[in-house]
């Protein structure tokens, strides 16, 4: 097997608690986690609130520095990168966030929002950028005329389509999604998940998808890691995790999902 695109090695994160003078022991949000994602695969991370799943994702995004351990993307340890190398890594790793309403600058038009990554990385002429934005808007199922609108004029589903477009506009190899559909109605969620799967295939992406929703995780993931209180309690192929869970907590989670026996046969 080839080198994984994302490799998380013994990563922990301790958040300091207490003030300047009363040092509390600190809160261990992520505890000795090791995971890897191979090219073109999707790793689903599932857990309840406080399980550390979002903290872990933010560390891979290089937004939070791990207290211990290493995170490698395309073979490079992300916290050792500087200058041009760091910028190149940032281009390779793109996020999609949970809340479509707060993911965008409310005063920027959709065009400005999508053009920003291209401008930062100095890609293309103004005309070429325009062309790329138009093509991509069509690809995510939106009318290109939408580029003149402001975020608040779009529905939640449209905003998540824009978020997907922004995530792939630089041609990244890795996309990290944190509960991208939890604010959406199920009918819209289904469309956005379908788009996500199509885009992932077309752009050859490697993805990590974080969610508290087990059904969504099952639908998008090749592999699944189940987190509880900062630890990965179980990981493996998605079908195996859902059909033959080994850890008690995974079983408890699956049993808690409301759906009666008669849905199982559907």
């Amino acid at each position: 097997m080839s080198e994984p695109v994302v490799r998380i090695e013994n990563v922990s994160k301790v958040f300091r608690q207490g003030g300047l003078f009363n040092r509390a022991p600190g809160f261990k949000a992520v505890s000795n986690v090791s995971l890897s994602v191979a090219k073109n695969r999707t790793l689903g991370i599932v857990g309840e609130s406080g399980s550390g799943k979002s903290t872990l994702l933010r560390m891979v995004l290089r937004l939070i520095q791990p207290s211990e351990g290493r995170i490698l993307v395309n073979g490079a340890e992300i916290w050792s990168l500087r200058g041009g190398e760091l910028k190149a890594m940032r281009r390779q790793v793109q996020p999609i966030f949970q809340n479509p309403a707060s993911s965008f600058n409310p005063r920027q038009t959709i065009r400005a929002i999508l053009a920003a990554p291209l401008e930062v990385h100095g890609i293309g002429s103004a005309a070429e950028r325009r062309e790329r934005i138009t093509t991509l808007l069509r690809r995510v199922g939106l009318d290109p005329a939408i580029e003149n609108r402001l975020p608040h004029q779009l529905s939640g589903g449209q905003k998540q389509r824009i978020a997907i477009a922004r995530a792939v506009i630089l041609g990244p190899s890795v996309v990290l999604a944190d509960e991208p559909t939890s604010a959406l109605d199920v009918s819209v969620q289904a469309q956005v998940l379908k788009l996500f799967a199509d885009i992932k295939y077309d752009f050859g992406l490697t993805t990590i998808f974080v969610s508290h929703n087990l059904a969504v995780i099952r639908e998008v993931s090749d592999e699944v890691a189940v987190m509880r209180r900062g630890e990965v309690v179980e990981q493996g192929e998605a079908d195996r995790i859902f059909e033959d869970p080994q850890h008690d907590y995974t079983r408890e989670l699956l049993a808690a999902v409301p759906s009666p026996a008669f849905m199982a046969s559907a």
Partner: protein
């Protein structure tokens, strides 16, 4: 053909009967109709689900029965609680019913609890307001209520403030408040949306136990098909302010009649199967 509805058998009349309910808001652009001729029954001891996406009018329907609609809402049609009209009575009469014969469990417990008041005092409010009982008498009842909703160590917890409770415990406290005077109808508006699945499972079991042990009818508003399937006896599917179909839960899932219901079922991801989203 009418579908067989076990809870309607042998009951004199529904715990809640809504007929041709309309809820309108005056907007500059004209009249906005959020609930459009909705008719719905909840029979005694029945758990009825109302499922719909955002904007379907499900919450407005629930709030109509509590007479807690936002300011400016115009209500039409008929609502009867155990045969008693709720639309044309005055606010003071309605207030006498709220919390006594009809109770609401809201979506976000933390926002509904007063952060500056001890939990026990708030859970005891229905006794204080409706029964004018002494604090001593109320205190022991509140401890019993907290025990009934499975809060551990209720004698101590009754003195806690809301922030000392976890999200699940806060929702249990809201349920305890709803149960206080044994109402004939409990309206639950997405009471588990903010909770983790394992906590949600316990709350749903608690609601079922309450129905079984106390005999309250429950109107459960939700956007999640899984919850309806697990909890409810009968379900109404709402879209754009209208009921598109209703029926026994099993039939709705196995043989939906409305295209919209079929679409909802198709769109809902399941832990039991995988659909063709992946390539």
């Amino acid at each position: 053909m009418r579908e067989y509805r076990p809870h309607a058998q042998g009951a004199a009349r529904p715990a809640l009967a809504i007929r041709e309910l309309t809820v309108d808001f005056q907007r500059r652009s004209g009249l906005l109709r959020t609930v459009d001729k909705v008719s719905l029954d909840v029979w005694p001891k029945e758990i009825v689900g109302v499922i719909g996406e955002s904007g379907s009018g499900k919450t407005m329907t629930a709030l109509s029965a509590m007479r807690l609609l936002p300011h400016g809402a115009k209500i039409g049609g008929a609502i009867a609680l155990g045969g008693r009209d709720l639309v044309n009575i005055g606010e003071s009469e309605m207030r006498a019913l709220r919390g006594d014969r009809i109770a609401l469990i809201p979506q976000d417990a933390m926002q509904s609890l007063n952060p500056t008041m001890r939990v026990g005092r708030q859970v005891g409010e229905p006794y204080e307001f409706h029964r004018k009982q002494s604090y001593g008498a109320i205190w022991s009842k509140v401890v019993e209520l907290l025990r009934a909703v499975k809060i551990a160590d209720p004698e101590t917890r009754v003195r806690d403030y809301p922030h000392q409770f976890s999200g699940g415990m806060q929702q249990r406290a809201m349920i305890a408040m709803g149960l206080a005077l044994d109402p004939e109808l409990i309206i639950a508006d997405e009471p588990t949306t903010a909770l983790d699945v394992t906590v949600q499972a316990r709350i749903l079991k608690l609601l079922r136990d309450i129905r079984d042990e106390r005999g309250s009818a429950i109107l459960f508003i939700t956007h999640e098909l899984g919850i309806v399937a697990e909890l409810c006896d009968w379900v109404y599917v709402m879209k754009d302010g209208k009921v598109v179909e209703d029926g026994p839960v099993k039939r709705i899932f196995e043989a939906p009649k409305a295209d919209y219901t079929r679409m909802l079922l198709e769109a809902t991801p399941s832990i039991h199967r995988r659909k063709g989203a992946k390539r």
